[in-house]
């Protein structure tokens, strides 16, 4: 039977990983991720988790070790954040191109310089092209549930691609909520054991992670790309299956809130979604037809789903804690591309905020919707909550 406890996002995620029974865990500390590997270490100590728990010497080694374990067919887990993710960056396309279905938690945190340990999403978003599936969760419950579901998606025969699950640093990793923990029996009923032929095998030796010349190299990448796209459907499948076994469902790559008749829609990812939902409620109460799209998966990118969900909306805003310096928010770029591909002409704004842990308030979110309604701003890229307003 499931159990209800008061847990931080990091602790909840560790519970989800425990339920997935990874055979190898490679651990290296970085704030605000560290609690996850500490929790897993104590689970191994208490024997509530049977796993090879390895203290590595860097994030590069953390992922390299996970790749090694996966290369003999073991289910593996590691976790990181910010500078750590960037330090292991070399190994990201390696794990993805090798089709090793590793699950990694990333605590979204600002990247230097200037130094800052608080949350924004520039770390993971800078790695969108590394070939990993990227999932963003809203609260501790979804963190736990997606920890477990990530293995289902990553290890699915048609996918076999690593998954990075992103939790907003501190706002989610360190904030306590009541969380329902499925039983190990439920988890086992949901998640089948990991079976693959993409592994070194003592009975049938393999040569792996090889070089491919220009004559065939592109075909390998296109196969990887198509497997990534499959993950959009596999997420739905996982959601249905999880709903049946555990009793909670989240939907697919996007979650919608009052978009059916919405005129003004905000796109969010991560923990800000909860507050945005309250803002939509308030606006609806005052007669503004506001709606919300929560991006649960950013790679593969559910562009067509976003356009479809927008229906007849009059304007859309993409809210993100990310900036591609010298261009715009990267999620915004992706969203606009989806509009163009689907021949959907719509005023599209980019609300960039939360960099380096800057708070985003309810009033500021309300203001975003007003900007969508009034469309007085000539500049489609808007910064939220700058301390210095005058130019």
């Amino acid at each position: 039977m499931s159990d209800k406890r008061f847990l931080s996002g990091d602790e909840a995620f560790a519970e989800g990983i425990r339920l997935a029974r990874p055979q190898v865990i490679s651990a290296y500390p970085i704030t605000p991720q560290t609690i996850v590997v500490e929790e897993l270490a104590s689970m191994v100590e208490r024997q509530s988790l049977k796993s090879e728990f390895i203290h590595v010497e860097s994030e590069h080694s953390a992922l390299s070790c996970a790749i090694g374990a996966s290369s003999v067919g073991a289910r593996t887990f590691t976790a990181t954040s910010s500078q750590g993710l960037l330090y292991m960056a070399e190994c990201l396309p390696y794990a993805a191109g090798g089709r090793f279905p590793i699950v990694m938690m990333n605590a979204n945190r600002s990247t230097a310089l200037p130094w800052n340990i608080y949350g924004d999403q520039r770390d993971s978003i800078s790695q969108l092209d590394s070939g990993w599936i990227q999932i963003y969760v809203e609260d501790a419950q979804e963190a736990l549930d997606m920890a477990l579901q990530s293995y289902y998606i990553a290890e699915h025969k048609g996918v076999s691609v690593p998954v990075m699950v992103n939790l907003d640093g501190f706002i989610l990793t360190h904030t306590y909520e009541a969380v329902e923990i499925p039983s190990i029996e439920e988890a086992d009923a949901f998640l089948p054991p990991y079976v693959t032929d993409n592994k070194m095998d003592l009975e049938q030796p393999k040569n792996m992670a090889f070089t491919v010349g220009p004559n065939l190299n592109m075909e390998f990448h296109i196969k990887h790309h198509e497997a990534m796209l499959t993950a959009l459907d596999v997420l739905n499948e996982s959601d249905q299956r999880y709903g049946k076994v555990v009793g909670r469902r989240y939907g697919g790559a996007i979650g919608t809130y009052h978009t059916e008749d919405a005129e003004y829609v905000l796109i969010t990812l991560g923990s800000i979604t909860g507050m945005a939902r309250n803002v939509v409620d308030d606006l609806r109460a005052s007669g503004v037809k506001a709606g919300l799209i929560k991006l649960r998966m950013v790679r593969p990118f559910p562009g067509d789903q976003i356009v479809k969900a927008l229906g007849l909306a009059k304007a859309v805003g993409t809210l993100e804690k990310d900036i591609s310096f010298g261009a715009e928010g990267t999620i915004y770029t992706n969203v606009n591309s989806a509009f163009l591909k689907n021949k959907r002409v719509i005023p599209s704004y980019n609300f960039i905020g939360g960099l380096g842990g800057r708070d985003i308030t309810k009033e500021q979110l309300t203001e975003c919707f007003y900007k969508l309604r009034e469309q007085k701003e000539a500049e489609p890229i808007q910064y939220i909550g700058l301390a210095i307003k005058e130019g």
């Binding site: 089709r99 040569n207 390998f220 497997a227």
Partner: protein, 98 residues
């Protein structure tokens, strides 16, 4: 024990012929190295005492000896000349490739 082997290779024609991951059967060769050679080692069986030093020091592992009989796999010998230099009996001479 598994021996690395040369096979007849067919270029992939369909998507299914491309492996889905970077993982393939170990020890498969599709090309030879014979064309690298300017000189080939030739063993004089009268001088050879079957000590195996040439086998031991060949970087390409192309020299085999069973029951004292030494032979060279000319498909993969690169003609480096190490065997000729290592042989204490002068039983291996390097001959120009024609």
């Amino acid at each position: 024990m598994k021996q690395v082997k040369l096979i007849e290779y067919e270029e992939p024609k369909t998507w299914a012929d491309i492996p889905w991951a970077t993982c393939s059967e170990a020890g498969i060769l599709i090309t030879k190295n014979a064309g690298w050679r300017n000189e080939r080692p030739v063993i004089d069986p009268k001088k050879c005492i079957g000590c195996g030093q040439c086998y031991l020091y060949c970087p390409d592992g192309v020299i085999s000896f069973a029951e004292g009989e030494v032979s060279i796999d000319y498909d993969f010998c690169k003609g480096c000349g190490i065997c000729s230099g290592i042989c204490r009996r002068g039983a291996i001479r390097m001959e120009e490739e024609r």
